[in-house]
């Protein structure tokens, strides 16, 4: 009886993880392609963060990020290098979310308005959005990335671990 329940909950977790993989992949594909289709607009949005004074670095960030997101967004649904991709995305999401938060705090301070009413295009590929909603979305994406590191949900994956002999 207990074994039946445990196997049911395992199946549920596996199904949830596969779904999380697909959702994450779809979100990053959508955001990546959106930016890759409008690189100049994305470049202008990256510029607003004042992260560099160097033309080459600024252009490289704006040129690489959309395609990189698209690449990771492709790997997740097809199930290639899932944990490595999830970790890479988590490591990108964290600093980018901090940058968005910093920008939002600057805007809030400039206008002296409640934090959650700050509404701007952060260059995330979804247009203008209220900051609290954006932060919540990023948090959910980050948690899902971490969840994928558990190694569950290997169904429908082409090559779950790229380094097959080393990863269980």
């Amino acid at each position: 009886m207990r074994s039946g329940q445990s196997s049911r909950s395992c199946r549920f977790l596996d199904a949830f993880t596969v779904l999380a993989r697909w959702v994450l992949g779809a979100v990053f594909l959508y955001m990546g392609i959106n930016k890759a289709l409008h690189p100049v607009e994305f470049l202008k949005l990256v510029r607003q963060y004042d992260i560099t004074q160097d033309v080459l670095v600024l252009n490289s960030i704006a040129a690489v990020l959309p395609w990189f997101e698209t690449f990771c967004g492709l790997l997740l649904p097809v199930g290639v290098a899932v944990r490595g991709t999830a970790l890479t995305l988590a490591m990108i999401l964290a600093p980018l979310t901090l940058l968005v938060l910093h920008r939002a705090l600057l805007l809030q301070a400039a206008q002296n308005i409640p934090f959650c009413t700050v509404n701007f295009d952060c260059g995330c590929g979804v247009g203008k959005e209220f900051i609290c909603r954006k932060l919540l979305l990023n948090l959910v994406l980050f948690v899902l990335c971490l969840w994928l590191l558990t190694g569950r949900g290997r169904q429908f994956s082409l090559r779950f671990s790229l380094l097959k002999p080393l990863l269980p």
């Binding site: 690189p39 790229l162 990863l167």
Partner: protein
């Protein structure tokens, strides 16, 4: 415990591999994309760090919320930045005067829209030429001869946090258009339409003119 460390190490190695292949994929993607960025090109002749931007980002927010507290400081900063770059800023009143000037018809006065193609098609000041400063090569053949013969050139973009009109003005100046006849309309299409002034949709001079704020 050792197995756990081994798994973590393997995930890190896999992540590094994904990152390396991903970056390579991204550079190739950008290279083969017809819209890809030229990595060495300076897309912002006004400077990567733009002193107006911080205020302006806040200003567009204020606009969305119906607050007008930063508008005057924004206008001052914009004017200061233009002066610093040797450009002349004009207000709506002057832009409207030039628009209704009879010289507009014989191209002695020309309006230049410094936004992208889709924004231009959506609505532009009637008779304005399209000139996207991020893709100048596509517009130069049409715009340059007109600018060379014009007596006054009015350049605008969206207004607010947009400094594309300034970029366009600097590009035109760089290719030899006299600085004295270049004017930047800072309020841009947003201020223009908000005041019920006429706009044209689609291509230039096809006669599809209307007022968006009626």
């Amino acid at each position: 415990m050792a197995n756990c460390g081994c798994i973590v190490g393997s995930i890190l190695r896999e992540a590094a591999l994904v990152a390396a292949i991903g970056v390579a994929f991204a550079f190739v993607g950008n290279q083969i994309s017809p819209r890809g960025l030229a990595l060495a090109r300076n897309y912002f002749p006004t400077g990567i760090t733009n002193m107006v931007r911080a205020v302006v980002g806040a200003d567009s927010l204020a606009g969305a919320l119906g607050i007008n507290s930063t508008t005057s400081s924004l206008a001052q900063q914009l004017a200061a930045q233009m002066r610093q770059n040797g450009l002349q800023l004009i207000a709506r009143r002057e832009a409207v005067q030039l628009f209704y000037d009879s010289h507009l018809k014989n191209n002695a006065i020309v309006f230049i829209d410094a936004r992208n193609e889709s924004q231009y098609q959506e609505a532009h000041i009637p008779g304005a030429y399209e000139f996207d400063p991020y893709h100048p090569e596509t517009s130069f053949p049409t715009v340059l001869p007109v600018c060379r013969t014009a007596e006054k050139i009015v350049i605008y973009c969206s207004g607010g946090n947009c400094d594309d009109s300034e970029s366009a003005a600097l590009l035109l100046r760089d290719v030899g258009i006299a600085n004295g006849k270049i004017f930047v309309y800072g309020g841009g299409i947003t201020e223009w339409t908000n005041n019920g002034l006429p706009v044209e949709t689609g291509a230039r001079n096809i006669g599809n003119t209307q007022s968006l704020n009626q």
